[in-house]
């Protein structure tokens, strides 16, 4: 009963802003995806690509770090709802793919964070981890938010 109360409190909190918990997840994941695009773009600039961006200096690094932190925070409510309330489900292909990829998301995230801090690793390790993480988030968005916006409704 106590655990059920946690879920109810979460739902009540979320629906003060969004129409439903599903809508909340769709929009939070979309915001995280936008920040992931910022992550990939700024990372590419840091690696000397995308020269149309203003500079390779401190500003780009700051934008990269803070967009990553914010994206991570935005995924936490989604994680809480998906993992602790809905659990691992496979009723159809879309949900099965979403559940499987979602299971790997924070594992890839943890690996990426460790790779960032280890300068002894080969140069390809960090871009590979970063792109894998962004791709994972993209796939999660395609199998949840895009489905919600196109199948259920496009609104808060």
């Amino acid at each position: 009963m106590l655990l059920g109360g946690v879920s109810e409190t979460y739902t009540n909190l979320v629906t003060t802003v969004f129409s439903s918990t599903i809508a909340a997840k769709a929009w939070l994941a979309s915001a995280a995806l936008v920040l992931a695009v910022v992550q990939v773009t700024t990372a590419a600039r840091i690696y000397g690509r995308l020269s149309f961006l203003p500079e390779r200096g401190l500003a780009i690094s700051r934008v990269h770090r803070w967009s990553g932190r914010l994206a991570f925070l935005l995924t936490l409510p989604v994680f809480f709802h998906c993992v602790t309330i809905l659990g691992f489900q496979t009723p159809d292909t879309r949900v099965a793919v979403h559940a499987l990829v979602g299971t790997f998301f924070y594992g890839v995230f943890a690996a990426k964070v460790l790779i960032v801090r280890d300068r002894s690793l080969p140069g390809w390790a960090l871009p590979t981890a970063g792109l894998t993480l962004a791709s994972t988030l993209g796939l999660l968005w395609l199998t949840s938010s895009l489905w919600y916006f196109t199948t259920v409704r496009f609104g808060f």
Binding site: S7, I85, T103, Y106, A111
Partner: protein, 114 residues
């Protein structure tokens, strides 16, 4: 084993932990008895409700001018099932059926419970 394996190992541990947490489903809500008896899934039902019912009943079942308020209305599963299958007022019969019907009935009962 070189240090390069550490991120992979930690990542693997996080993946396994996430899967275990998802399997445990620790915060699964306790549904009203009537909802459990209907055999549907409240979260799938929420999706069906948003797609098929919210236009008339409001996004949170608060009523939307065309459809009556369902939130807090204390309707039971049998009443909702009858309305879905036979229609009521301007609401056509059979908007949803099968699993979607069971799911949306559970959801409506859950939001109708004060």
């Amino acid at each position: 084993m070189g240090r390069g394996w550490i991120p992979v190992l930690v990542g693997a541990v996080v993946v396994v932990s996430t899967f275990a947490l998802a399997q445990a489903q620790i915060f699964e809500p306790s549904l009203p008895a009537a909802s459990a008896a209907a055999g549907g899934d409240v979260y799938r039902g929420e999706t069906v409700f948003q797609r098929e019912c919210a236009a008339c009943h409001g996004a949170r079942g608060e009523g939307g001018g065309v459809g009556p308020r369902l939130s807090g209305a204390e309707v039971d599963a049998a009443t909702v099932t009858a309305a879905v299958q036979r229609g009521r007022g301007v609401m056509p019969a059979g908007l949803v059926s099968g699993r979607e019907e069971a799911d949306v009935v559970v959801y409506v009962v859950s939001i109708s419970t004060p």
